[in-house]
C-alpha cells in the first residue's frame, strides 16, 4: 500500500490506522483517547485529519489506511480545529498551569513543589511531568482558554487500596473503561450519567472493592492524566531510570519494568512489548511486589542462635556453624526443602547439594497442588508423553475451553486474559469446580461439582464420549480396554449423584469438547488432597485423549515449571513438601535445611534447623542458623513460566543488607563442608553446567543477557498415549449436626517465601486476606456471624482460626480457607471434612 501523508509517500503492508502509520513515520497527530492495544474509541476528536475523497474530518485513530489514500494532518483548518477541541477539554480540567506563559520556567518560580489532592494546576498534580495532556497542549501550542473553567468538584476517591481516583482531572478518554472491559474482562468502571455530567465510575458509585475490581492497575497504567494515580508513588518524582525484569510472584512470569528515581525503587509497571503479558500484570506484580522486596521484615544479616536467642553474625560464622553441625548427621537424618519460588540455578544447586554433599534422598521433588506437576507426574508414572508446554497464544486460539478448578483471575491472571481473547473470537467456556467464581459469568456452561469428586466428573465426561461414539476408534490404543472396563463398572446414576451434575450437562460438554476443532483443557490449581488430585490428573489425561483436546496444566509459583523440570527424576521414593512435613512431625529427622516457608511442627525432634529465607517468619522461632537470601529481583537467576518459557531476572535491585542469592549460599556451604564440585562464582557458571547436564535446559544460557529472545525448555516431542483406569475414591465423611459445614481449602497464591502479602501490605489485606474464611451470606446469618468476625474452624481432626469473609462465590454449606503448601500443613488434614464454626479466637 502507498499512502500519502502531508505530501510524503509512505509504503506500508499491514492493516493499520492513519494514526498508527503517522506515528511510525514520526508525523505528529495529537491524540488522547487512542491507546495501543485498545479498540479505537474516537471520542477526544483531537486526531481529526482530512482525507481526500472523504466527507468532513475523519478521526485518524479509527480510520484504516488504504492504498492511494491522501491524508492531510497539518492544514491551518486542522490546526485551528485542534486548538478549539483542546480548549474545550481544558475548560473541564484545571488549566492554569497548562497555558501558563511561564510554564517552562516554573520550576524556578513556583512557590511550592508539593503535590496535593485538590489539584488546581499541574504543579500540584501527581502526574506532573508524566502527563499526556501536558504533552498534547505543548504540541498543539494552545495558549489561551476563552471559557471560564468548570471545576467538577468531585470528591477524590481515596478509600480503595493502591490507587486514588480524582475525576476532577479526568478527560473522559475512556481508556480505563476500555482496558477494564476489553482486556481485563471486568467492566468495574464504566461511563455513568450523560451530557455534561458524564463521568467514569462504578455501578451505583460503590467502592472498587465492592465492585469486583482485581486491582490489576491496568486502568492506572493507561490513564493519560492524573485522574488515576498510584498512592504509593503519587507524591514522588517521575522515574529517571527503568530496568527490565520478570515478576517472580507467580508462574505467569510477567515482564516488568522497575522504576527508579535517584536509585530509589519506585515500583513496577508491566512492560508493553512483552510476548507474555503485553502491558498487563496483576495486583501482585503491579502493586505488591515493591512492598514485598523492600519489606521491613527482610532478613539482612545471618543469624545464629546463642543462649536461645538469634544473634547477628557474619557469613563466616554462620556458614562455619552450619557446616560443622551438618557434618555430624547421617544422610537419612537430614532433609532439605526447596521451593518453586527459587530460581533454576538455586534449585539445581540445592539438588546437587542434597545428592552430593548431604547424600540424602529427603528433598522435596513432588509438587503440592500444582496441576503441572500432577500431570507430569502422572505421565512419568504411566509412560505417557504429550506436549505440555504451550504459548499463551495457543489458548487465545482455542474454540472451546474447559476450565477445571477455580478462579483464573486469581491463580493465573494472564492466562485468563488469553482465555478472554479466545472467548472474544467466539469460543465456548465451560467451568468446572466446586466454587462459583467471577470467571463464571463468561461460561456457557458451569459444572458445579461436589468438592473432591473432580476425577469422577472427568470420568463421567469420558464415559459420555465413549458411549456416544462407541469407542471403536480407540480400541487399539494402550490401556484402553482396562480403562473402559473401569468406566463400564460405574453406572451413570452413581456418577450423577456423586458429582452432583446432571447427565445432560455432561453430555453437552462432552459434545462440545469432542466436536470442536481446537478444544483445550485448562487445569488450574485446586486443593483436594494428594490422592484426589492425582486421580483428577489421570482422568484429565484420559479425557484429553478421547476428546482430542490439548491440555494446559498450569503451574503455580514463579518457577514451578523450572522446579518440576529439574526434579524430573521423580520416583516413588521422592517426597512432597507435605510428606516431608509429616516426617518431621513424626520426628524422623535430626537436621533440616529449608529454603521454603515451613510451619515447623511442635515436638519435631530436630537438633538442627537451618532456615534460608528473605523474610522473617514463624520458622525463625526454632531456627538454629538463619541465612539471609536475596529476593529473586536481586539476582540474575532464571525462572520458567507456566508456558515453559525460560526468563532471566536480570537483577534490577541491589541486594539488601548482607543477603546473598540462594545458590551462592549453598555453594559456600558446600565448600565449607569440603565439596569440590561447587566452583560457581556466578549464576552463569551454573547455567553452563545445567545446559550440559539437563537436556531440557539446553538453551538456558541464552536467556541472558539478550532481551527479547524467546527461550523455552526443550520438550520431548514424542506423543505416547496410555489410558489409565479410573481409581475409585474414598467416600467423604458426611456432615453431621455437630459438624454441619464442609471445609474446602483454596490454594493461596499471595505469598513470597516467608512474606504473606496480606500481612505485609495492609491494603492487600483489604483486597484479599490470607486470614479469610469465606462463606455464603446465608450461612453467616444461620450461624449469626458477620463480616470480619474472628472465628475458629474445628473438625474432628483439628482446628484453625481466621476471619469471616462473606463471598457470593461460596455455595451454602461450604466454607473455604487458603492453604499454602508447607506453611499451612496443619490445615491440610481438615480439608474436605465436616467442620463447625465458632465465634471468637
Amino acid at each position: 500500500m502507498r499512502v500519502n501523508i502531508d505530501g510524503r509517500e509512505i509504503e506500508t503492508k499491514h492493516k493499520k490506522t492513519i494514526l498508527e502509520l503517522a506515528r511510525e513515520n514520526d508525523i505528529y497527530i495529537p491524540s488522547l483517547c487512542d491507546f495501543k492495544g485498545l479498540e479505537p474509541f474516537s471520542g477526544c476528536r483531537l486526531c481529526l485529519v482530512k482525507v481526500e475523497g472523504m466527507k468532513g474530518y475523519v478521526p485518524s485513530c479509527s480510520v484504516f489506511v488504504k492504498d492511494g489514500m491522501k491524508v492531510k494532518t497539518k492544514t491551518s483548518d486542522i490546526q485551528k480545529l485542534r486548538k478549539n477541541i483542546l480548549e474545550l477539554i481544558l475548560t473541564e480540567h484545571p488549566n492554569a498551569c497548562l497555558i501558563c506563559e511561564e510554564k517552562e520556567n516554573c520550576d524556578e518560580h513556583k512557590a511550592t513543589i508539593r503535590k496535593v489532592d485538590e489539584v488546581t494546576g499541574c504543579v500540584l498534580c501527581p502526574n506532573n511531568g508524566r502527563c499526556e495532556l501536558q504533552n498534547v497542549v505543548r504540541e498543539v501550542g494552545l495558549e489561551k482558554v476563552r471559557f471560564p473553567s468548570f471545576y467538577r468538584d468531585i470528591k477524590v476517591k481515596k478509600d480503595d487500596p493502591f490507587f486514588d481516583r480524582n475525576y476532577n482531572l479526568c478527560i473522559l478518554c475512556g481508556r480505563c473503561v476500555r482496558v477494564c472491559r476489553d482486556i481485563r474482562g471486568l467492566s468495574v468502571i464504566t461511563f455513568v450519567k450523560r451530557g455534561a455530567k458524564t463521568a467514569v465510575g462504578t455501578s451505583f458509585g460503590r467502592s472498587l472493592l465492592d465492585s469486583g475490581c482485581q486491582f490489576c492497575g491496568a486502568c492506572v497504567d493507561v490513564c493519560p492524566t492524573g485522574a488515576l494515580t498510584e498512592k504509593a508513588v503519587k507524591y514522588d518524582s517521575p522515574p529517571d531510570k527503568k530496568k527490565d525484569t520478570v515478576c517472580p510472584l507467580c508462574s505467569m512470569g510477567c515482564s516488568l519494568e522497575f522504576n527508579f528515581f535517584k536509585d530509589k525503587f519506585l515500583g513496577a509497571n508491566p512492560a508493553g512489548s512483552s510476548p507474555v503479558n503485553s502491558g498487563q500484570a496483576c495486583v501482585r506484580g503491579r502493586f505488591a511486589l515493591r512492598d514485598v522486596v523492600r519489606s521491613e521484615n527482610r532478613i539482612r544479616k545471618p543469624l545464629i542462635r546463642k543462649n536461645n536467642q538469634l544473634e547477628e553474625a557474619t557469613w563466616e560464622e554462620a556458614l562455619d556453624y552450619a557446616s560443622e553441625k551438618i557434618k555430624k548427621y547421617k544422610p537419612d537424618e537430614m532433609a532439605v526443602v526447596t521451593s518453586p519460588q527459587l530460581s533454576c540455578e538455586d534449585i539445581f544447586v540445592f539438588n546437587k547439594f542434597a545428592e552430593k554433599v548431604l547424600k540424602t534422598k529427603h528433598i522435596n521433588k513432588k509438587a503440592e497442588g500444582s496441576p503441572l506437576s500432577l500431570v507430569s507426574d502422572a505421565c512419568r508414572k504411566n509412560g505417557i508423553s504429550l506436549p505440555m508446554q504451550f504459548k499463551l497464544d495457543d489458548i487465545s486460539e482455542l474454540d472451546a475451553v474447559f476450565l477445571m478448578g477455580g478462579n483464573l483471575m486469581e491463580s493465573a491472571p494472564i492466562v485468563w486474559l488469553s482465555v478472554l481473547k479466545a472467548l472474544d473470537r467466539g469460543a465456548d467456556l465451560i467451568t468446572a469446580g466446586f466454587l462459583e467464581s467471577p470467571v463464571d459469568r463468561y461460561a456457557s456452561k458451569k459444572l458445579r461439582v461436589t468438592p473432591g469428586m473432580e476425577s469422577y466428573l472427568l470420568a463421567f465426561l469420558s464415559k459420555c464420549i465413549l458411549d456416544d461414539c462407541g469407542g471403536k476408534e480407540f480400541a487399539a490404543e494402550k490401556g484402553f480396554d482396562e480403562f473402559r472396563r473401569s468406566l463400564d463398572g460405574i453406572p451413570y446414576k452413581y456418577l450423577e449423584e456423586s458429582t452432583g451434575i446432571s447427565i445432560e450437562a455432561v453430555k453437552q460438554t462432552a459434545d462440545i469438547l469432542r466436536k470442536r476443532d481446537k478444544s483445550g483443557l485448562i487445569f488450574a490449581p485446586q486443593v483436594i488432597g494428594r490422592e484426589r488430585e492425582e486421580a483428577a490428573a489421570e482422568a484429565l489425561l484420559n479425557l484429553a485423549f478421547l476428546s482430542d483436546s490439548r491440555i494446559f496444566p498450569l503451574s503455580v509459583e514463579g518457577n514451578h515449571r523450572g522446579w518440576d523440570a529439574i526434579n524430573k527424576d521423580f520416583s516413588e521414593k521422592t517426597k512432597s513438601i507435605s510428606e516431608i512435613w509429616n516426617s518431621i512431625k513424626k520426628g524422623q529427622y535430626k537436621a533440616l535445611y529449608t529454603a521454603a516457608p515451613l510451619d515447623i511442627p511442635e515436638d519435631d525432634g530436630l537438633e538442627l534447623l537451618i532456615v534460608q529465607d528473605s523474610f522473617t517468619g514463624d520458622d525463625l522461632d526454632k531456627a538454629d542458623v538463619v541465612l539471609p537470601a536475596c529476593v529473586l529481583s536481586e539476582t540474575d537467576g532464571s525462572i520458567v513460566n507456566t508456558e515453559g518459557r525460560i526468563q532471566g531476572l536480570r537483577g534490577p535491585l541491589d541486594s539488601l543488607g548482607d543477603a546473598k542469592p540462594d545458590w551462592e549460599i549453598v555453594t559456600k556451604l558446600a565448600g565449607r563442608i569440603g565439596s569440590k564440585d561447587f566452583g560457581y562464582t556466578t549464576a552463569g557458571d551454573i547455567r553452563k553446567e545445567m545446559a550440559r547436564k539437563l537436556p531440557r535446559f539446553k538453551d538456558i544460557s541464552q536467556t541472558l543477557p539478550k532481551r527479547g529472545k524467546e527461550v523455552f525448555l526443550k520438550e520431548d516431542n514424542e506423543y505416547r498415549k496410555k489410558y489409565i483406569p479410573l481409581n475409585p475414591l474414598n467416600e467423604l465423611e458426611k456432615e453431621t449436626p455437630q459438624y454441619p459445614l464442609r471445609l474446602v481449602l483454596e490454594h493461596g497464591f499471595d505469598y513470597y517465601r516467608n512474606c504473606l502479602l496480606s500481612e505485609e501490605i495492609a491494603e492487600f489485606d483489604l483486597f484479599r486476606s490470607k486470614q479469610w474464611i469465606k462463606m455464603n451470606k446465608r450461612d453467616t446469618q444461620k450461624y449469626e456471624l458477620k463480616e470480619g468476625f474472628p472465628v475458629t474452624l474445628k473438625s474432628k481432626k483439628g482446628q484453625f482460626k481466621g476471619f469471616v469473609h462473606i463471598s457470593e462465590y461460596v455455595p451454602e454449606g461450604i466454607v473455604t480457607a487458603y492453604y499454602i503448601p508447607g506453611r499451612d500443613e496443619n490445615r491440610a488434614d481438615l480439608n474436605l471434612s465436616p467442620v463447625k464454626i465458632t465465634r471468637g479466637k
Binding site: P40, F41, S42, G43, C44, R45, L46, L48, K55, G56, Y57, P59, S62, L81, N84, I85, L88, I89, T91, E92, R146, F147, F150, L172, G174, T190, F191, K193, R194, G195, A196, K197, T198
Partner: protein, 415 residues
C-alpha cells in the same frame, strides 16, 4: 383530502385487534407475498417504490436492505426503531396505538425479504401502553400463524420481541440502539462498520423506523408504481406529519410526500391559533434547522428541504407564533442536547454544555455582547466533528436560530 394509505382504517373501532385488522384485508398481502413471491421480489419492489426512511435520515429502505450480505452463515436481525425520541415527533405512537398489526405485517415482509428470523422492536420506555399493545398483537399474530415457526406453512420462521428502552434520546440513534439492546450503555458506535454488516451482537442487522416498515404492506399490495404515484415528489408514498405548536388543529396528518409546508400549516392544521402571526416553523423535528414564514412555501420532501438548508427528518412540524420568544426556543433546544449528549466525544459533550450555559445566561438577562458569536463558534466546532450525528443534530438548529433570529436574540442581551 388526498388518499390515505397507512391511516385509512384508523377510525375503525378496535383495529388494533387482529380480527378487525383482518376484516379490513390485513395479512392478506402477507399470505400472498410469502406463498407466491421470492425474497428478491419483495426487495426489488421496495427499492422501486423509493421508500425513504421515516426515522430521520431519509435513507432509501430497499437500498439499505440490499447492503445486508446474502450468503453469510450468521444470524441476521431486524431492529425496529420505535424510540420516537425526537422532540415534536408523535407519529409512530399513532401507528402503534391504532394499528400495530400493520407494523407487524411490514416486519414479517421485511424479514422475509432480507432473510431475517429474529426481529426486535425497540420502543421508548414511556410508551408502556403501546408496548403492551404490540405484545398482545404479536401473540395474536402468532396464534394465527403469521409470526413464529413455519409461518403460514411456508417454512419461514420469525420471532418478534418487544424491548423497552430506558429513557435516553441517544438510544434512538441506530448504533446506540444496538448497544442498548445488547444490554449495554447506549453509546453510539463508530461507523464503519455499518450495522448492515456488523450490527446487533456483531451480526448483520437492518434498522428501520416504525413508519418506514408500516409502508411495506401497501407497497406489496398495490405495487411500487402505484406507491410512487402517491407522492408529489420523486419519493414514494405519504408521510405522517405530526403538527404541533400554535396551530388550530394540531395532530398527525397523513399527506403525500411533497405536500407544501404552507398548506400543511394553514389548510390541514387550520392555521395559527387565535389569529396570531406565524413566527417560524421547525419542519422535521427539533434537529432540523428552523424556517422563517417566507421560507415555508416549500415541498415537504427530503431533497427540497435539504436545498433550503433544513431537513425533513421525522416529519414533525413545530409551529411557533409571534408570541413565542426565540430565546425560549433556543434554550429548550440547547438544554435538550446538552442533557442528551451521551458524553463520548469532546465537541458534543463540552460544546453543547457551554452553549447551554451561555444561552441560559442570556435567558436570565445576563448575556454578553460576544455571546452569540461564541455560540456560533462553539456550534461550528461541533458540526461535522463528532462521533455520531447527534452533534450535527444539535449544531444545525442552533446555528439556524442564531442566524435567522440574531436581531431578536441581541435584544435579550442588554450590555
Amino acid at each position: 383530502m388526498p388518499e390515505k394509505i397507512l391511516t385509512k382504517d384508523f377510525d375503525v373501532k378496535h383495529l388494533f385487534k387482529i380480527d378487525e385488522y383482518m376484516k379490513k384485508g390485513g395479512y392478506k398481502t402477507l399470505t400472498r407475498v410469502l406463498k407466491e413471491l421470492k425474497p428478491e421480489d419483495v426487495m426489488s419492489e421496495v427499492k422501486a417504490a423509493h421508500l425513504r426512511g421515516r426515522g430521520g435520515a431519509g435513507f432509501p429502505a430497499g437500498v439499505k436492505w440490499g447492503f445486508v450480505p446474502k450468503d453469510v452463515d450468521k444470524p441476521k436481525y431486524l431492529c425496529v426503531n420505535a424510540d420516537e425520541g425526537e422532540p415534536g415527533t408523535f407519529k409512530d405512537r399513532y401507528i402503534m396505538t391504532h394499528n400495530p398489526h400493520l407494523l407487524l405485517e411490514g416486519i414479517v415482509m421485511t424479514c422475509f425479504a432480507v432473510g431475517i428470523h429474529t426481529a426486535y422492536i425497540y420502543i421508548r420506555g414511556e410508551y408502556e401502553n403501546m408496548a403492551v399493545r404490540l405484545e398482545n398483537a404479536i401473540s395474536e399474530a402468532e396464534a394465527k400463524g403469521f409470526i413464529g415457526k413455519n409461518i403460514l406453512k411456508t417454512g419461514f420462521d420469525l420471532n418478534v420481541t418487544v424491548h423497552r428502552g430506558a429513557g435516553a434520546y441517544i438510544c434512538g440513534e441506530e448504533t446506540a440502539l444496538l448497544e442498548s439492546l445488547e444490554g449495554k450503555r447506549g453509546n453510539p458506535r463508530l461507523k464503519p462498520p455499518f450495522p448492515a454488516a456488523v450490527g446487533l451482537f456483531q451480526n448483520p442487522t437492518v434498522i428501520n423506523n416504525v413508519e418506514t416498515l408500516s409502508n411495506v404492506p401497501c407497497i406489496m399490495e398495490k405495487g411500487a408504481d402505484w406507491f410512487v404515484k402517491q407522492g408529489l415528489s420523486e419519493d414514494g408514498g405519504t408521510r405522517l406529519f405530526g403538527v404541533s405548536g400554535k396551530v388550530k388543529k394540531p395532530g398527525v396528518y397523513e399527506l403525500p410526500v411533497g405536500t407544501s409546508l404552507k398548506e400543511l400549516v394553514y389548510t390541514y392544521a387550520g392555521g395559527i391559533k387565535s389569529g396570531k402571526k406565524l413566527k417560524a416553523v421547525i419542519p422535521g423535528g427539533m434537529s432540523s434547522p428552523i424556517l422563517k414564514p417566507d421560507e415555508i412555501d416549500i415541498s415537504m420532501d427530503c431533497a427540497s428541504l435539504m436545498k433550503a438548508d433544513s431537513m425533513l427528518g421525522s416529519g414533525a412540524v413545530i409551529v411557533l407564533d409571534e408570541d413565542v420568544p426565540i430565546i425560549d426556543v433556543l434554550r429548550k433546544v440547547t438544554q435538550f442536547y446538552s442533557h442528551e449528549s451521551c458524553g463520548q466525544c469532546t465537541p458534543c459533550r463540552i460544546g453543547n454544555s457551554w452553549i447551554n450555559k451561555i444561552v441560559k445566561r442570556i435567558y436570565r438577562g445576563e448575556g454578553k455582547k460576544e455571546d452569540l458569536d461564541k455560540i456560533e463558534k462553539l456550534a461550528s466546532n461541533i458540526l461535522g466533528r463528532t462521533l455520531c450525528p447527534l452533534g450535527d443534530a444539535a449544531a444545525m438548529p442552533i446555528l439556524s436560530i442564531v442566524k435567522k433570529f440574531r436581531k431578536e436574540l441581541e435584544s435579550f442581551i442588554k450590555g
